[in-house]
C-alpha cells in the first residue's frame, strides 16, 4: 500500500544515503498493508468483547425475562422471550417518570451551573497574575481529583444533620434573614437526605464542585490560544468587557464550549456513584434516576435483569443522541479523516 509508506515521501531527498533496498519491503514477513490491521487487532478485540458484545447483549436481554435461574453459573435455564413486555412495564411504571424527571432536571441544572461557574473561573484565572493563578489552579485541582466515592462521603458529612458544617453556617445567619429567605431560622438537626429535593440539592452542589475545575482549566487553555492582538484592537475601538466577551471570546471558544457542554451532559446524565452513596443505596425509590433504577431492578432480589437492561437501553439511546452531536463536532474540527 503505497500511501502507508512514510519513506516514499521523506526518503527521496537528494542527501539521503543510497537505499539498500526498498525500505517498505523489509525483513519481517508481514506485508505492509497488513501492519496497521495487525496493530489494531488486539485493541479491537478487547473493545468488541467488552463493549460491543455486551451492548448487543443488553439489547437482547431487554426482550427477555432474565432472573436468578438464567444467570446461575451451573446449568442456566434459557431466558424466555417476552417481546416488548419489559418496555411496556417501564412505561407503565410510576418510577419511569420520576426517574426520567430526576435524570433530566439534574442534568440540565448541573450542566448549566457547572458551565457558568467553570467559565467564570476560567476567565478569572486568565485575568489573575501568574502566582495567584497557579494558587487557584492547585486549589481547584483538589476538588477535581477527589474520587467520586470520597466526594459523596465528604458532602454527606458537610450536610450532616447534627454535626455538619452547613447547618452550623445556616444557623449563623441572622434570624430575620434566614426566615425571610428560607422561612425558618433554626437549622439544627435539619435532615438533608430524607427528602428527594434536598437530596438532589446536595448532589448538584457536590457534582458542580467536582466538575467545574475541568471546565475552568479547559476554558483557560482556550483563552490562552486567542491572540492578544484581537483584544487590543477591541480596546482601541472602545469595546466594553461584556462586548469583548460576546464578540471575540465566545465565538472563538465556541468549539471548546460545544465539546464541554456535550461531555458534561453525558457525564451528568448517568451520574451513579455519588447518587448511590448520598441516597444510601436503593432504598429511596423516589430518588432514582435512570441508572440507579436500572441497577435497582437488576441487582436487588429478585433480580429482573431483563427489565434493568430495558431501562439501560432507554438511557443509552438518550446518550447516543447526545453523542451524535459530539461526534459530528469532533469530526468537523479534528483530523479524524
Amino acid at each position: 500500500m503505497a500511501q502507508t509508506s512514510t519513506v516514499a515521501r521523506g526518503g527521496g531527498e537528494p542527501s539521503a544515503p543510497v537505499r539498500r533496498n526498498k525500505p517498505q519491503a523489509r525483513r519481517t514477513g508481514l506485508p505492509d498493508w497488513l501492519v496497521p490491521y495487525a496493530l489494531l487487532l488486539p485493541g479491537l478485540l478487547v473493545i468488541a468483547a467488552l463493549l460491543l458484545y455486551p451492548l448487543y447483549q443488553m439489547v437482547d436481554m431487554s426482550f427477555h425475562q432474565v432472573g436468578l435461574r438464567q444467570i446461575r453459573a451451573i446449568n442456566p435455564s434459557p431466558a424466555e422471550f417476552v417481546g416488548l413486555d419489559n418496555y411496556t412495564s417501564i412505561l407503565d411504571s410510576d418510577l419511569f417518570w420520576t426517574s426520567l424527571r430526576n435524570t433530566v432536571v439534574f442534568a440540565v441544572v448541573t450542566v448549566a451551573l457547572t458551565l457558568i461557574l467553570g467559565t467564570l473561573v476560567g476567565l478569572l484565572l486568565n485575568k489573575l497574575g501568574p502566582k495567584m493563578s497557579m494558587f487557584v489552579v492547585v486549589g481547584i485541582m483538589a476538588a477535581w481529583a477527589t474520587p467520586p466515592t470520597a466526594q459523596a462521603v465528604v458532602w454527606k458529612w458537610l450536610f450532616d444533620s447534627d454535626a455538619g458544617v452547613v447547618n452550623w453556617v445556616l444557623n449563623l445567619l441572622p434570624d430575620w434573614l434566614s426566615s425571610l429567605v428560607f422561612g425558618r431560622s433554626d437549622w439544627s438537626g435539619q435532615p438533608w437526605f430524607n427528602d428527594t429535593i434536598t437530596l438532589y440539592l446536595v448532589l448538584i452542589i457536590a457534582v458542580v464542585w467536582a466538575s467545574f475545575p475541568f471546565i475552568a482549566v479547559s476554558v483557560l487553555a482556550g483563552l490562552k490560544s486567542i491572540p492578544s492582538e484581537l483584544y487590543e484592537a477591541a480596546r482601541m475601538d472602545g469595546a466594553t468587557g461584556v462586548g469583548t466577551f460576546r464578540k471575540i471570546t465566545f465565538p472563538l471558544l465556541k468549539p471548546v464550549f460545544s465539546v464541554l457542554v456535550v461531555l458534561s451532559t453525558i457525564w451528568d446524565f448517568k451520574v451513579f456513584t455519588q447518587l448511590y452513596l448520598l441516597a444510601g443505596g436503593t432504598v429511596n425509590r423516589d430518588a432514582f434516576n435512570l441508572s440507579l433504577w436500572s441497577y435497582a431492578e437488576a441487582f436487588s432480589s429478585p433480580p429482573k435483569m431483563g427489565l434493568g437492561a430495558a431501562i439501560a437501553v432507554v438511557l443509552t439511546a438518550i446518550l447516543l443522541v447526545i453523542t451524535f452531536v459530539y461526534v459530528r463536532n469532533i469530526v468537523k474540527t479534528e483530523d479524524v479523516r
Partner: protein
Amino acid sequence: MSPVTRKRLGRAALNAAGVAVFLFAVFPVYWMVTTAFKPNDQIFTTSFIPFPNPPSMDHVSRVFTEGVAGHSVWRYLLNSTIVALSAVVMGAVFALLAATAVARFRFRFRTSFLILLLIVQMVPSEALLIPLFTMVKRLGLYDQLLGLIVINVGLTLPFSVWMLRTFVAAVPKELEEASWIDGAGRFTTFWRVLFPLVAPGLVATSIFSFITTWNEFVFALTLIGDQGKYTMPVALQFFVGQRSTDWGGIMAASTLMTIPVLIFFLLVQRRMVSGLVAGAVKG
C-alpha cells in the same frame, strides 16, 4: 478616584474572587482531612472547630488495625492497587499498538475506527453492567479481581487510544525514516525510536487510566461479593452503610483513598485537559 487606585481596587477584587474560588474548592477536602485527625469530641459537636487541637491519630490507626468489614484498610488499598496497576499495564500495550496504527498509517476503516472509539466512550458503563455481570458469572470470574481487571481494561481503552494517538502523531516521522534507512527493522524502529519518544505520553495516559480504575465503583460493587476482595471505593461505601456515624473513621479512609489520586493528578494535570478536549482547543 484616580485610575491607579481604580486599577489597584480591580486587582484586589480579582484576587479576592480567586481566594473565594480557592476556598470553595479546597474546604471540603480540608474538612475531610482535618476530621480524620480530630478526636471524637471535636467531631460530634455543634460548634465549629477549624482544625484538630491536638491532632489525634486514633481514626487513622483504627482503620488500619481494626479496619472495615473485618479487614484492615491495607487490604483494600492493596486490592485497588492490584486492579489498577494490572489494568493499566494490559491497557497500555493494547492502546500503544492501536494508537500507532491510527496515528502512523492511513488505511481503510481508519475513520470508522476513530468514530467507533468516540461512540463507545460515551456508552454509559452502568448500561454495560448487566450484560457484563452475567458474562463474568458465566465465566466463573465473579468474586475475582481478574474479572474486574479485564473489565477495567475495556472501560479505559477507548479513551487511552484516543489520547495516546496525539502523542504518537507528535513524534516526527523523519526519525523513524532515518532508522529505516539505517537498516533497522519494523520492530527495532518501534522499540528503539518511537517508544522512548512516546513514553512520556504513555505515562500520562496510564496515569489517567489508573485514576479511572482506582475510582471505579459500580463494577467493583456488583462483581465482588467477598469482603476480603473489596476495592477501596466499595469498602468506603460499606463503611458508610455499616457505621454511618463514625465520621472520623470514614474520613480517614476517604483521605487515604484520595491521596494517591491527588498526587497523580498534579503530575498530569495539563496533559489531561489537552487529552479530554483533544483538538477543540487549537490555536
